[in-house]
């Protein structure tokens, strides 16, 4: 009887990671460096920012860029550069954290729902579809309004809103992945072994859904800063005097002509952050052999 030969070199296995890295496009690598820079700024900003972002009157209001104020001053004479730096902390933390929580909650619920099927699945998906039927921003506004004036501006509220808006969408995606995986034979065999739902979700489904969920996380994390800053702009997000970028843009809009930097600096910071997030997400998707679907 023939015994099959054995000689696949070890290099085959290690090359998985190398293959992933090799497929990571250049644009995404640069974007990743930018992201890293943002993270560093967020972490270390308070140590080296030239001014206290809340301190008014550090210079004449709406003075332009100068050696002491890189981006000039805003309507209250606060240093724009420092405010942008401090704003990085808020937006990064909020965006990433809330998206992460939404992905974990939505992902697990979606996977379990897709596996179990039946009326539980139907019910959950109807519920999620209904929440998704309320246009994103409208739902966010409703939720914030429902929380009341006292809670307004709190980070926890904003996180909760993002989770509320995202979790159903992520759950829907996770469920469709699960539904597809469930038809695969290795899940059938696991069911025939009598494995519990929890065991199947954890052992069989999650590792296979990880790639999709990672990309989904990236896509949502890329939109989260936009959502948060839009709320800030409308006056429903962070409250003054917080150095939140959307709020800053809204506050200084009137001076767009006279002191454009007060609006352009946070705009650029926001745009570059989101572009970087999106490029990295697309890069990860490409390296995993998928495309990043931006389903609303």
């Amino acid at each position: 009887m023939s015994v099959t030969a054995v000689d696949l070199p070890v290099a085959v296995r290690r090359s998985r990671l190398r293959r992933f890295l090799r497929r990571f496009p250049m644009s995404a690598r640069l974007a990743a460096l930018l992201l890293l820079a943002y993270i560093l700024i967020a972490l270390t900003g308070p140590l080296w920012a030239p001014y206290d972002p809340f301190q008014a009157g550090t210079g004449l209001p709406y003075s332009g860029a100068s050696s002491s104020h890189l981006f000039g001053t805003d309507i209250l004479g606060r240093d724009v550069f420092s405010r942008v730096v401090y704003g990085t902390r808020d937006v990064l933390y909020l965006a990433l954290m809330s998206t992460f929580v939404a992905t974990v909650i939505g992902g697990l619920i979606g996977l379990a729902s897709g596996l179990v099927g039946g009326w539980v699945d139907e019910l959950l998906m109807r519920l999620f579809e209904t929440i998704i039927s309320i246009p994103l921003l409208v739902l966010a506004l409703l939720a914030i309004a429902a929380a009341g004036p006292k809670a307004s501006g709190s980070a926890l509220l904003l996180m909760g809103v993002v989770v509320l808006v995202y979790a159903p969408r992520i759950a829907r995606m996770a469920r469709s992945v699960a539904v597809d995986l469930v038809t695969r034979d290795f899940v059938t065999v696991a069911r025939a072994r009598g494995e519990s739902v929890r065991s199947i979700v954890w052992r069989e489904l999650t590792p296979n859904a990880a790639g999709v969920l990672l990309v989904e996380f990236g896509v949502r994390a890329g939109y989260a800063p936009i959502l948060i800053s839009s709320l800030g702009f409308l006056g429903f997000g962070a409250r003054p005097p917080s150095p939140e970028w959307g709020l800053m843009i809204s506050e200084n809009r009137a001076a767009l002509v006279t002191a454009p930097l007060t609006v352009l600096a946070p705009s650029a910071a926001l745009a570059v952050l989101v572009i970087s997030l999106n490029l990295v997400t697309d890069g990860i998707a490409r390296a995993l052999g998928r495309s990043a679907e931006r389903t609303p």
Partner: protein, 315 residues
Amino acid sequence: MILRLIAQRLVLAVGTLLVVSVLVFFFTSVLPGDIAERVLGRESSAQQRQIFRQHLHLDDPVWKRYGVWIGDVARGDLGRSLVNNETVTATIGSSAKNTLFLSVFALVLYFPVTLILATLAALFKGKLPDSLISVVTLVGLSVPEFVLGTLLIFGFAVQLSVAPALSIVNPGDSLFTRLHATVLPAVTLMVAMAVYAIRMLRDNLIDVLDSEYVRMATLKGVPRWRVVARHALPNAVGPALNVTALNLTYLIGGVVVVESVFSYPGLGKMLVDSISVRDVPVVEATALLASAVYIIANLVADVFAMVLNPRLRTA
């Protein structure tokens, strides 16, 4: 068979709308802050507030209030604004018209742009046009609408002075005046939708172009243009409608932001304002209307896709 499917879809849409109404009501009924105090003012007496509350049935159990409200809505009675005591219908009437105008304008711009760019990207997959479009759309979806709108104001209104910075429209304005006043917000909205739609449609088109039957037609000797026209495009219409319906969520959300940026007197601005002053009936009505538009648009797109699908037509 297809009629049954359409009917099912219709029932589903109505059901979703009902549940949405429950959600909307739940959120707004939870709105804290004593409504009576807000409306009547701080100086009002407790008794006045009590009469007010009774008048609006504010002390009834939630489910009963919901029943009354939804029954009224079904009859077309959206209640009265707490701020100016006019009917909600009257209050949001002209705003709704303005938003409709703006949205249609944006959609009219959106369709050709999306179709052309998505088709170009799909036909030249992997080559320069595709990469260029990919980069542009990526940047576009990374920039929030309020930033884009503000930049457009800076560029076209302030520097170039070709369009107004504030999009104020009055009922008597001519069409041209209106168009001129709303061109910047319309472009902003168009971009907000198109950047997502172009990407999604491009992917759908590529799927169709890569499908086996398209390949087979090519191997039959059918010339390229005919392959695209007869075999590919008809199967892309459904996805195109589907993509548009899905991305309406960005249009609706965008309307809220863009109307604030440009101070345009539409539903979006009305929603923001009424939330600030806790004008509950207006908030409910506007939120419900926004959801209804989205649900109906998706219903229409689904039905269209069903009708276009020969499998469902003939079975």
